[in-house]
């Protein structure tokens, strides 16, 4: 036995005698993970979170979360002798006097944008491949929770420097609080410790931003990953891949190297962005004062859709019995986002109710093979993108020489008209792709080689596709629609009534498919040829 072997054995013995971990580790170090680029999206979110923790901790060493008024006398000459909050002054100090401070601030901000983008794209991957189906509904819910908290966390984060832009964002948040019926003005006064802006808000959101929310994130991310571990990862369909197995590479050494290496790649790319791409240059905005504002006020992108909805809202307010209800704030700022996020959270349960499917699913859907779901996803995405476009209407107007009015009216109508159109187009596209798959399986691949028949006719030679490919294209199930009979054999009306009818109708829409080609059909065709 070499010295090295003895050292490893000794350490393993020491740990195992105290924890009994050897058995668990033996099993889990060789745990199999399937390989696909789209499984890296969630990883990017996880790694950005770690980057945020590291760079965020660095920033707290110098950031002073206080709205105490100070007179600036630091390195940045244009703001010399200006009255500002200690929060803003310390952010300037981080940006201009701490070596690497600006870099860390910029990495932190870029990592936040990447974190949110990765969560969204990861969510889209999970949605469009049906990875949220049984048994993974809990993880879907946790994911929606993480997305929601991420939006809040990001907003609080860019509000901390107390610059003119972020202060304006807080002013808008205060107006949303204030618009809540009955308790609104009380909530606003409690949140701000008195009238806006006061001096309580920055210290308060600082605690929420650096302690409360990151703690909740850590907890939720841990459960999220433990569930992935315990339930084993989903996999894409293919030869040898079934609902009962998982095909891939072992954690040790391949995934340790790949996933560990990928963390460094994500960190490296984020650091590069932080080095060369200026983001949130707060010194250009100046300190916050409620009487001033800069043109082109924009939230970060993950808030943009919300701002876009608020911007396009019609000017509706109700005044009755000495009270005011601001529909122009309530609907786009609270009610619509509430409906959207609740609908998203409940989608796995809604789909399973529609299809009546209670089986476990570990093989992912190709999006085209679930046309209704894919169309619904594209429809929601279209809605969000139109809202997001309106969130940048002032920037778009100046860049493309349009008027804000044109963009606003386009998005006001587009918000209602374009999503249904997107639904129909996507569904037809999915069915066409299914038809193309069917063609490919039954008639083979076009080779581009032309053959002249003895009769002088030209035909293109088709080559049969490989059995592996044929299996990949035909392995999925196409469950039939649920049927709900209006009356049973004895003429008793079905008690589920309208609900049952709606369910049957939805189920029918969901089950609309191009029949999967079978080997019998293929043989029959071949028989016809010869």
């Amino acid at each position: 036995m070499s010295v090295k072997d003895r050292a490893v054995g000794g350490l393993a013995n020491y740990v195992d005698e105290r924890t009994g971990a050897a058995k668990w580790l033996k099993k889990n170090l060789t745990k199999v993970f399937p390989d696909h680029w789209s499984f890296m999206l969630g990883e990017i979110a996880l790694y950005s979170f770690i980057i945020l923790l590291l760079t965020g901790t660095f920033l707290t060493f110098w950031f002073d979360p206080s709205q105490r008024e100070v007179i600036y006398n630091g390195n940045y000459a244009p703001l010399s002798q200006v009255h500002m909050s200690a929060a803003y002054a310390s952010t300037l100090r981080i940006s201009f006097e701490i070596r690497g401070g600006l870099l860390m601030r910029q990495i932190h901000h870029w990592a936040a944008l990447i974190f949110m983008a990765a969560i969204v794209v990861h969510l889209l991957r999970v949605f469009f491949t049906g990875a949220f189906r049984k048994p993974r509904e809990f993880n879907w819910l946790i994911g929606v929770g993480l997305l929601t908290l991420g939006i809040v966390e990001g907003f609080l984060g860019y509000s901390l420097p107390d610059d003119l832009l972020s202060g304006t964002g807080i002013r808008i948040a205060e107006a949303i609080l204030q618009a809540i019926p009955v308790v609104g003005s009380y909530l606003a006064f409690f949140a701000f410790g008195g009238p806006f802006p006061g001096t309580a808000f920055i210290p308060r959101i600082y605690t929420v931003h650096v302690l409360l929310l990151p703690g909740i994130f850590l907890g939720l991310i841990t459960i999220h990953l433990m569930l992935v571990w315990y339930q084993k990862h989903t996999q894409y369909p293919g030869p040898g891949r079934t609902e009962k197995n998982v095909v891939g590479y072992p954690l040790m050494p391949v995934y340790m190297a790949k996933a560990g290496g990928f963390f460094f790649i994500v960190f490296g790319v984020t650091a590069f962005l932080g080095a060369v791409a200026s983001i949130n240059p707060i010194w250009l905005y100046g300190p916050y004062t409620p009487g001033q504002i800069s043109a082109g006020s924009q939230p970060d992108w993950y808030m943009g859709w919300l701002d876009g909805l608020v911007r396009m809202s019609p000017p509706l307010e109700t005044h009755a019995f000495g009270h005011t209800i601001s529909w122009n704030i309530m609907i786009p700022g609270l009610i619509l986002p509430g409906i959207l996020f609740t609908g998203m959270a409940l989608y796995p349960f809604i789909e399973s109710w529609i299809t009546g499917d209670k089986r476990e699913h570990h093989l992912l859907d190709r999006p085209r093979n679930a046309p209704n779901r894919t169309a619904l996803g594209v429809m929601s995405l279209t809605f969000m993108i139109i809202a997001l476009i309106n969130g940048g209407n002032d920037i778009i107007a100046t860049h493309f020489h349009l008027t804000i009015n044109q963009i606003m009216w386009f998005t006001r109508f587009g918000l209602f008209i374009l999503p249904p159109i997107a639904f129909v187009i996507t569904k037809r596209l999915c069915l066409s792709l299914q038809r193309a798959d069917r063609e490919l399986v039954l008639h083979g691949r076009e080779t581009g080689r032309l053959l002249m028949m003895p009769s002088g006719e030209f035909v293109e030679v088709h080559e049969p596709i490989s059995p592996e490919k044929a299996w990949t294209l035909t392995q999925h199930l196409q469950p039939a629609a649920l049927t709900v009979a209006p009356e049973d054999a004895n003429g008793v009306r079905n008690p589920s009534g309208i609900k049952g009818k709606i369910r049957a109708r939805l189920s029918q829409a969901h089950a609309e498919q191009i029949p999967v080609p079978t080997e019998s059909e293929q043989k029959e065709l071949e028989g016809g040829h010869h």
């Binding site: 308790v183 339930q231 590479y249 009487g291 000495g322 299996w471």
Partner: protein, 330 residues
């Protein structure tokens, strides 16, 4: 041929294809060298970090194409850090892809549902163990427990009460009173009508009694925008016209939608635009909303000149300024 429909069958995992480095020791050696080079590049990045942290001046700016004026030290630190991280990652991934085993492994899955016997056992255990506590039988305990736990939830809410004071009259009042002078912001100088030319805009605040400090809370509700037009441009009723002075009209600068500063004035069209949500107000028609989500005009401040010729408020605002709230009556 049988009439039964036969589906395509799963051909099973395709045969493993070996990589060049698996069979050719020369290729393996080459891959090893590539990994080593990537690690060395990372080390080089860290050297750059150390060098720039210690030896570069933090106040040197360099001009670079695309990037513009850039702090040289921050840039060097960032590029160095990016290199040292990125190439470690690339090395690890390249190592995994070329030299670590790439044979796909199959692991079995198991249904998560427990065996029926276990489930029955579980239910029985819960019933038996729960029953032994006697919660079902002892209704007095059950009810008082519910009461105490329910009430317990109230205390955190109660304890949060001191987060802030009650709004009282703060949302409905400002520091503008009859006779309050309009002063410039910044500068706090009183204003005469002759200070403003036609087409000019100025932000003003109420003059505060000597010895009072102006806070951001004051500015947040007192900020007023002063605009001078030609008197014939106005399209106002008699009362509102009497609130102006010689073509000078004053509005609250705090947007009636969500409280942003309505700061963009377009001289040609005489429109005020809020940069947050693009609510547009027509100055000639008492700041009537002509576009955007705002539901109410900006409150107008009645002004006149006092005996010394300075602009003053005739009276306080006649309605609350800023965004709507529940207690607002109109």
């Amino acid at each position: 041929m049988s009439n039964e429909i036969q589906k395509f069958t799963d051909p099973g995992l395709p045969e493993h294809v070996h990589r060049r480095a698996d069979t050719d020791p020369k290729a393996a050696k080459q891959a090893e060298r590539q990994v080593a080079i990537l690690f060395l590049l990372s080390a080089l990045g860290t050297v750059l970090v150390i060098f720039s942290y210690i030896f570069m001046k933090s106040t040197t700016f360099v001009f670079l194409p695309v990037l513009g004026d850039t702090n040289a030290q921050q840039l060097a630190l960032g590029v160095g850090l990016a290199m040292s991280l990125f190439f470690i990652g690339m090395a690890a991934v390249h190592w995994a892809k070329t030299l670590m085993p790439d044979t796909e492994v199959v692991a079995e899955r198991h249904e998560f549902r427990s065996e029926d016997a276990d489930r029955a056992d579980f239910v029985a255990t819960v019933k038996e163990q729960g029953g032994s506590a006697g919660l079902g039988r002892r209704t007095l305990i059950k009810r008082t427990m519910g009461l105490s736990l329910g009430l317990l939830g109230l205390s955190p809410l109660l304890l949060l009460r001191d987060l802030g004071p009650l709004p009282k009259k703060f949302l409905t009042t400002t520091d503008w009173k009859a006779g309050t002078r309009l002063v410039t912001d910044p500068g706090d100088r009183p204003i005469k009508p002759s200070d403003l030319e036609v087409g000019a805009v100025a932000q003003v605040l109420p003059e505060l009694p000597a010895g009072t400090e102006r806070t951001l809370e004051n500015i947040g509700k007192d900020a007023v925008l002063l605009i001078r037009l030609r008197p014939e441009d106005f399209n106002l009723d008699a009362q509102r016209l009497s609130w102006t002075h010689d073509g000078i009209i004053a509005f609250s600068k705090i947007c009636s939608h969500m409280g942003c500063a309505v700061a963009l004035y377009e001289q040609q069209t005489k429109h005020l635009l809020c940069p947050c949500h693009q609510s547009t107000f027509d100055v000639t028609r008492a700041a009537k909303v002509i576009f955007g989500p705002a539901a109410r005009p900006l409150p107008q401040l009645a002004i006149k000149v006092d005996d010394q010729g300075f602009l003053v408020a005739q009276q306080p605002f006649t309605e609350p300024i800023g965004p709507s709230f529940w207690e607002r009556s109109s």
